[in-house]
Amino acid sequence: MKKFSHVNALTIDEAVSILRRYGDRASLIAGGTDLLGKMKDRILSRYPEALVNLKTIPGLDFIKEENRILEIGALTRLEDIAIDQTVRGGYAALAQAANRTASPHLREMGTIGGNICQDIRCWYYRHPNNRFPCLRKGGGRCYAIEGDNRYHSIFGGSVEEGCYAVHPSDTAPALIALDAEIRTSKRTIKAGDFFQVEVTKTTVLDEDEIVTKILVPRPPENAKSGFVKFALRKTIDFPIVNCAALISSSEGKVSAARICLNAGYVKPYRASRAEEVIVGKTFNEADAEAAGSAAVSEAKPLPHNGYMVQIAKTMVKRAILACG
């Protein structure tokens, strides 16, 4: 019923100019798998006045590897990434993450750009008809902190405001572990710096900034990457906790490690302490477990999500062992 403009952008510049014109009253749409649900459920008090369709922009749907850099266009669908032989061979964590995202149907629609730019998950925030006007929507309180928070952050709330929602992307931790870069219409951002904990945003992107492609450096020959995900069901579900790791080793010992958890915090959570613990160790259960424990050493679980700490610990452990 609610009317909105729908603009098929033909170039990034055109899309950017439309965004500038509408300010925060426009939304980008690619696969639409997150946005349309939000609009249909009217979870926000404001409805976008314009949707800027990116799918009509040519040249943003590709996977190629040149000079040991994997380039993935922002409009590349998750399923294409999941089955791509190059990605599966050299960038296993990303292929695995894409493959565990949502369901086959949604992976055929959802894009990598959308996956990293998707909105947070919280069943209060996303309740239909803006039933819970939480602080992320400009309201005064976080309903999750006083309600049922079994799927919320175990590492505390966002910096000042106290939103305990989680970032649900499966590909985000893989990109951070693989030390990817996000190319936008304005700049290049390290994947690790891309996500943001501000209450109204999930990324550092400006209002008129569009992700155009992902650049992933090919891991060294002595490195392996892996991705593990914990969810109640084997398909469809967003992660309760997931974890990606990229681990280099020589002579059976870990020489370098990048480990990232997600869905346990308002943005992907780099498990730096686990990285410190595992470097210099061999691939074995006990050391991997010790790294897992280190990863959650700063966990501050809420009343209903204490179990997620154990799961996060296990995910780190298994992600490490998957790289062995």
Partner: protein, 818 residues
């Protein structure tokens, strides 16, 4: 037996009674029991061509939508519909204070004189029969007060499109007074809990069956070597339908026509007629294909069934246009399964596995159906049983028989038997065999019953257990709890449960068989489609009874007003009653057919003839034959001209009642068939994940009329059943009473990749009270599976988690890791 002295009505009644005797087949099975038969509804459904109520379009049709309360309990203080009325495309707005609404309620009186009233009278608790269900008080179809979040309340809209109707609802300006609410049934009984019902001093709902007692449990406890006490909890799960609620209504002068997505269209029509003050004969009901049911559409307190129908009719009357009322997905989440319960168990057992007493206290939330101990009466020899079942009002939609009213029974039955076996360190299959029986009597009494009534003397439970144990490798794999770690690091567990097979002792229906004058056959009788493929089985029965072929038979199930209605599978009994209805009708039609044929043969009497493979032949001289087609060529309901087509049509109808709900023993028919179920799990002790790696279902179906349907039912039941114990759970926010997971992402049905293979094994012992010895299967498997995960997880990790669903957080907690 029908007697010549009987009047026509008396004869119908007499012929329609169930028999206590075994139903030994008298015909040759050609189509019955055959595999590879194409289902009656298969093409339409698989091709997407089937039309459902929601698909229906009529010229000038409007779309109706109703406001759902955003609050768990609230009263409307002020409501301004001005802006909604002004919205272009809005054709009518119905307010709670409109005169048309006055006096129109949800709960009807029709059910009460039935079983509720009868149970009450029998219990001696009351003299008079109740009006309406005791579940929740009779409520207006559109009130100014909401009793739960999601309750239709305040205002409804009819508009040119669904979007406009939705927008109009958003434009209604309202002031609410939020009232105190309570979500948990035990909290609701505490002295400081808000009292939810007006003019009441307690949230305890009146339930006629608060106490069921057999023998003397105190005596049983004294005889026991062990006393086993435990508590269990089952959180609500959803009724789980694919097709969302809708109804389409149009007035034709003083007549009203409706398309109903209803499991029980006849009941819906009765309630509707009552609240609309409309004569039954002025209502025409179409009953198209249905995308689901699972018991959801039989609840008179469930607004989709009644409130929606009434609102659509009122709008249609006002506007003179057809009105289709629709619920969207998240609006179908209000209404729970009937096993929102907290259970307190005390069981006495001897060291050899003999159970001497079972005492249960069940505290239900907004539900009254099965107390939870009846299966101990129906299929065990346990002499001392006591069940106190109380029902408490809470600020949630009414729970109902969604996904089977026997869930409390299977929950209690499985947990008691498996706890006893675990406590005694016994194989649970042995504990089952030790206690099998009925009505406090052992299996020698069952054998006696079987021989006296012509049933084969087979031991159904023993056979079910044997088949299941073999399939799952029980004897090789069964182990003490918490002792088997698999090579993959996970803990292995297995569990077993059992019960009687159901249902074969209830249901009432009617149907006619018309032999068209081209020799094909129409089954005339409305039946709600809830996807269990009964129509194929009906056609198989009619084909074999008439000596015809499956492809000669068709069924016309979509219109209630053709006068005949087959039992909808609401009562867990479908084939077992309807199969007999159709067989009776077919036999009467065959008798007529042979009478007509005898006239054509001229020199033989009807009883000298028989049919086979579309041919009528003389039994003593089978070469003398005529095709059915040539015999009936001139027999037709009407023809405009010429005396040639002057023979009366071959049409016969039958009515049959197979008993009423909840009464097997009362009618002298103990449950003879059994079922056994086995499950294997792998528990990941680091994440708490329970993986169901194998399921073996063994159902004694008595006689499988359609083997593939039986297997389909068992597969479907397993998958839908296991998910209830793994992940399905409705989750409310404690601070607001809002249901948090009202979508199919956060409400987690297990998917087809979430568990391992299922073995569907059925036995055909002939021990059923249904046609040819059949027993039901559809609901049983699904209802048996949920509680079985508990003992399986116990066997894996050595800790009981009697709190369902068994989600990873609970497993980790039991393991001391969360």
């Amino acid at each position: 037996m029908a007697s010549d002295n009987l009047g026509d009505y008396e004869r119908v009644q007499e012929e329609g009674k169930y028999s206590l005797e075994a139903d030994i087949p008298t015909i040759t099975f050609t189509e019955i029991g055959k595999r590879g038969i194409r289902r009656m509804d298969g093409y339409e459904k698989a091709s997407g061509k089937a039309i459902y109520t929601r698909d229906m379009q009529l010229p000038g049709m409007l779309y109706g939508r109703v406001l759902m309360s955003p609050y768990a309990r609230a009263k409307i203080l002020r409501m301004d519909t001005g802006r909604a009325e002004a919205l272009p495309g809005v054709r009518s707005i119905m307010r709670y204070d409109d005169p048309e609404i006055e006096g129109r309620g949800l709960n009807g009186s029709y059910f009460a004189p039935g079983w509720v009233g009868r149970q009450l009278k029998r219990s001696g608790l009351v003299e008079d029969e109740l009006e309406g269900w005791g579940l929740k008080p009779v409520r207006p179809v559109l009130g100014d007060e909401a009793w739960y979040e999601g309750q239709p309340v305040g205002v409804a809209v009819a508009a040119d499109s669904e979007d406009i109707a939705n927008e109009a609802l958003r434009l209604v300006d309202m002031d609410w007074e939020e009232l105190p609410f309570v979500l948990d049934q035990e909290e609701a009984l505490k002295p400081d809990a808000p009292i939810l019902r007006p003019n009441s001093d307690s949230n305890l709902l009146e339930d006629p069956r608060q106490l069921l007692e057999v023998g003397d449990v105190e005596k049983g406890f004294k005889e026991a070597d062990r006393i086993i006490e435990f508590t269990a909890r089952r959180n609500a799960h959803l009724w789980a339908g694919a097709e969302m609620a809708s109804v389409l209504v149009r007035w034709r002068g003083d007549n009203l026509e409706m398309w109903l997505r209803e499991q029980q269209p006849y009941h819906a029509k009765m309630l509707f007629a009552e609240w609309m003050d409309l004569p039954m004969n002025r209502i025409t009901v179409h009953s198209p294909y249905m995308g689901c049911s699972f018991g959801e559409r039989g609840n008179p307190a469930n607004n989709p069934s009644n409130g929606m129908n009434i609102l659509a009719a009122l709008f249609s009357k006002r506007t003179g246009r057809p009105v289709k009322f629709l619920y969207n997905r998240n609006e179908t989440f209000f209404g729970e399964s009937g096993d929102m319960m907290v259970s307190y168990f005390k069981v006495g057992a001897k060291e050899d596995g003999t159970i001497t007493a079972v005492q249960i206290k069940n505290v239900f939330a907004v539900y009254m159906c099965t107390p939870g101990i009846e299966h101990f009466i129906d299929n065990t020899r346990i002499p001392n049983l006591k069940c106190e079942a109380i029902t408490v009002d809470v600020s949630k939609a009414a729970a109902w028989w969604d996904r089977c009213e026997q869930l409390p029974n299977t929950f209690c039955f499985t947990l008691v038997f498996d706890h006893v076996a675990a406590e005694l360190g016994m194989d649970p299959t042995e504990v089952a065999l030790k206690n099998d029986g009925y009505d406090s009597r052992d299996t020698t009494h069952l054998s006696k019953y079987k021989s006296e009534h012509g049933f084969p003397d087979r031991d159904s439970l023993r056979e079910c257990i044997k088949a299941g144990k073999k399939a799952i490798g029980w004897d090789e794999k069964w182990h003490p709890p918490g002792t088997k770690k698999l090579p993959n690091g996970k803990m292995h567990g297995m569990a077993f449960t059992w019960d009687h097979a159901w249902d074969d002792v209830r249901g009432t229906g009617s149907a006619a068989i018309l032999i068209e004058n081209d020799g094909t056959v129409s089954i005339i009788g409305q039946q709600a489609d809830i996807g269990v493929n009964p129509w194929t089985a009906y056609c198989q029965i009619v084909a074999d009874e008439l000596g015809m072929r499956y492809q000669d038979i068709n069924i016309k199930p979509f219109d209630l007003d053709q006068g005949f209605a087959l039992m909808s599978p609401d009562g867990s009994c479908n084939l077992c009653s309807n199969g007999i209805v159709l067989r009776k009708a077919a036999r009467k039609a065959k008798k007529m057919l042979l009478e007509l044929a005898a006239q054509k043969f001229e020199d033989v009497r009807p009883e000298e003839l028989d049919t086979k493979d579309r041919i009528i032949y003389v039994k003593s001289d089978p070469k003398r034959e005529k095709t059915i087609k040539e015999v009936v060529a001139r027999a037709m309901p009407m023809f405009a001209s010429a005396g040639y087509w002057s023979e009366a049509p071959v049409i016969a109808w039958a009515w049959h009642t197979h008993g009423v709900w909840g009464e097997a023993l009362e009618t002298g028919r103990p449950r003879l068939g059994r079922q056994s179920h086995f499950i294997e799990v792998e528990v990941d002790t680091e994440t708490g994940t329970v993986e169901v790696s194998r399921v073996v279902n063994v159902n004694d179906v008595g006689k499988a009329v359609s083997p593939e349907t039986v297997e389909g039912q068992m597969y479907g039941g397993s998958y839908l059943g296991v998910g209830r114990s793994l992940t399905e759970e409705m989750i409310w926010d404690g601070k607001t009473g809002v249901l948090l997971n009202r979508n199919l992402l956060d409400y987690k049905y297990a998917t087809m990749v979430d568990y391992g293979p299922v073995d569907a094994i059925f036995l055909e012992t002939g021990l059923g009270h249904g046609p040819y010895g059949a027993i039901g299967v559809g609901e049983a498997t699904a209802t048996m599976m949920p509680a079985l995960l508990g003992p399986a997880v116990y066997n894996a990790i050595g800790h009981w988690i009697d709190d369902f669903p068994i989600t990873p957080d609970k497993v980790l907690k039991a393991l001391g890791k969360a």
